[in-house]
Amino acid sequence: MIGKDSKTLLDVQGLRATVNGIEILKGMDLTIKSGEVHAIMGPNGSGKSTFAKVLAGHPAYVVTGGSVQFEGKDLFVLAPEARARAGLFLGFQYPIEIPGVANAQFLRLAYNTVQTQHGKDELDPLEFDDFVREKMKLLEMNPDFLDRSVNEGFSGGEKKRNEILQMALLEPRVAILDETDSGLDIDALRIVAGGVNQLANKDNAVVLVTHYQRLLNYIEPDYVHVMDAGRIIKTGPKALALELESRGYDWVSAEARAGAGAAA
């Protein structure tokens, strides 16, 4: 929802980034305000996931230009863990399995780390257990998932639910969900989307990185952005996603090229 007294949470200007020396982001601009839901769409290789990872601070990606302000501060002076503690969250496309660490142990460690940052008290295992079980209801997750190793042997849908559970626990200001819909069947998609909808509020923002319009039937974006060749080439309302679904991406790219030609 676009609010009157919303604040700018994330301000991306001319962002450029490389991986293995190859430039993937080539001047990305995006402004995200509190209360908003953004969808970033685009063909494979357009840089959507790179954008998500650069924001979270993945070590393989090197920022070569531009700036990102997170709540008015330079994001790139912060280490990945400091970004997380400051309220930036990345929902992984492929969540990592950690055999040997109980999910409850991992979730509590993450939760307490972020709580401490906000000057709040840590929860002991018993207190945390009650707390996390409540949050799990939001995602219709079986409490058995607390005792299992982090993501180990989880189905695709279970892994994604576990990601949104982490979002629910960490209560980020900006959540970037990287292809959270990939690999989900229709029931899992509904549950995951329902969880995200309940977590979105007037003070935070959600960025959905997705290939498909399908997710947007469940989570209504305020803005739909189309990425191509490392930049956002078109921004529109929710209806743009439907148009992309029926017409593909080529026409947007052509339009962008024509626009660029006209401007030149």
Binding site: P59, E81, R83, F89, I96, I98, G100, V101, F106, L109
Partner: protein, 430 residues
């Protein structure tokens, strides 16, 4: 090192052996072993089996059998006691401590070997020294030359030991050599959990040289947890010899954290059709420690199953060695064997030598093995950091997880949790 000093190291150790010949099984076994020690030399890095493990830090020192036994109180051993273990035998510097032990006399027999000898002469004479061959192993021969007591667990046919049995060996004195000995005979259809636990109440150098024999009858089940948490100046040389029969299952978990230098040999032989073994190993070393694990799984009959997973976590300038030999003899058809050796290096100076060895002489078998040596995955570290964990916390948790995957095979939860805490403390320190 010359052969002469090798000889003198063994001869010096041998000097303190028990010499009384009581004409019993143990006296006869000792005599044979003494003779054998005389013919053997201390291994050096020219021996294929000791290529990666230079034991000169050990042979430079001298050790004597304990002269005056240390008197320990219940409070002294309290940190090691497991409430879950129904019965316990405690040995202090190799000497049986009856006042700290809770033996059992029936139907499951848990006793010191010496005390059981008059009653269980036949079982002891038949089994002691049978599995743990000492002809080619100087340390096993040395241990056998000293055998006059030890831990005995006898499970008659069908006996089920509901609660774990704890064999606790405590080192307390410097420059002492001790020779712990274990004999476990699991009759047909019996089942038990045995914890063989080496701990220290001293920070000085000493030598623990152990031999354990584990004989499983038909359909017997044995969960054998071996924990080596010697002092960081201690030396530990251990040998377990296991035999499995038709339908029996040996589930061994060996964990080594301690000792300046340790060597563990596990020899498992499948003596009848259809035996099964599961073996988990974890060596975690730091600073200038060295942990060497050599295992042999010998499938001599058809339809054997073995699953082995060994892990090493190596920090500082430490070294770990794993040599995992799997033998499938001619005629051992339809053997199913898997082995994995995974190793985590936490520093640039840490080193691992891992060597899987498959010797297959049957043509219809399924054997897989794999070995990896590496550092923590960058993607795993990033995942945890993206959830707010510091770099150090992320690395420590992942290192802990790497080890915990082996520890969770331990069914005694109290022990498992304590060992998990040990791993956690060590990873946080690293």
């Amino acid at each position: 090192m010359t052969a002469a000093t090798n000889k003198s190291f063994l001869a010096d150790l041998l000097a303190g052996r028990p010499t009384a010949d009581r004409g019993d099984a143990m006296s006869r076994l000792r005599a044979r072993a003494v003779e054998r020690v005389g013919a053997l030399t201390v291994p050096n890095t020219h021996d294929e089996d000791w290529r990666f493990t230079d034991i000169s830090p050990l042979t430079r020192l001298s050790f004597q059998p304990v002269r005056a036994a240390t008197k320990l109180s219940a409070a002294d051993i309290a940190p090691f006691v497991l409430a879950e273990a129904a019965s316990r035998l405690v040995f202090v510097d190799g000497i049986y401590a009856p006042q700290l032990s809770t033996p059992a006399s029936g139907p499951v027999v848990l006793s010191s070997l010496a005390a059981a000898l008059p009653v269980q002469a036949i079982a002891i004479e038949t089994e002691l020294g049978r599995m743990a061959a000492f002809e080619h192993n100087a340390f096993t021969a040395l241990n056998t030359a000293f055998v006059n007591d030890g831990a005995l667990l006898l499970l008659p046919r069908g006996a089920v030991a509901e609660k774990p049995v704890h064999l606790l060996f405590i080192a307390t004195q410097k420059e002492v050599a001790s020779y712990p000995r274990c004999l476990v005979v699991a009759g047909a259809g019996s089942s038990a959990t045995v914890i063989e636990d080496y701990v220290a109440l001293t920070e000085d150098a000493y030598l623990t040289n152990t031999v354990g024999e584990f004989v499983l009858g038909e359909d017997a089940r044995l969960h054998h947890v071996r924990v080596q948490r010697e002092s960081s100046a201690g030396f530990h040389v251990g040998h377990s010899a296991v035999s499995i029969a038709h339908g029996s299952h040996y589930h061994g978990v060996n964990v080594g954290f301690g000792a300046r230098l340790s060597r563990y040999n596990l020899d498992m032989v499948q003596t009848a059709e259809g035996g099964e073994c599961t073996i988990g190993g974890l060596a975690m070393v730091d600073d200038n420690q060295l942990a060497d694990t050599h295992t042999t799984i010998d499938h001599t009959k058809p339809h054997g199953v073995s699953r082995q997973q060994h892990k090493c976590i190596v920090g500082g300038s430490a070294r770990a060695v794993f040599n995992g030999r799997i033998v499938v003899r001619k005629g051992a058809q339809l053997t199913n064997s898997t082995q994995s050796s995974r190793n985590l290096l936490l520093s640039d100076r840490a080193r691992v030598d891992t060597k899987p060895q498959l010797e297959i002489f049957a043509d219809d078998v399924k054997c897989t093995h794999g070995a990896t040596v590496g550092q923590l995955e960058a993607d795993e570290v990033f995942y945890l950091k993206s959830r707010g964990l510091s770099d150090a916390a992320a690395r420590s948790l992942l290192t802990y997880a790497f080890g915990a995957e082996i520890l969770r095979q331990i069914s005694v939860s109290e022990l498992r949790q304590r060992l998990e805490q040990t791993v956690l403390a060590q990873t946080e320190r690293a």
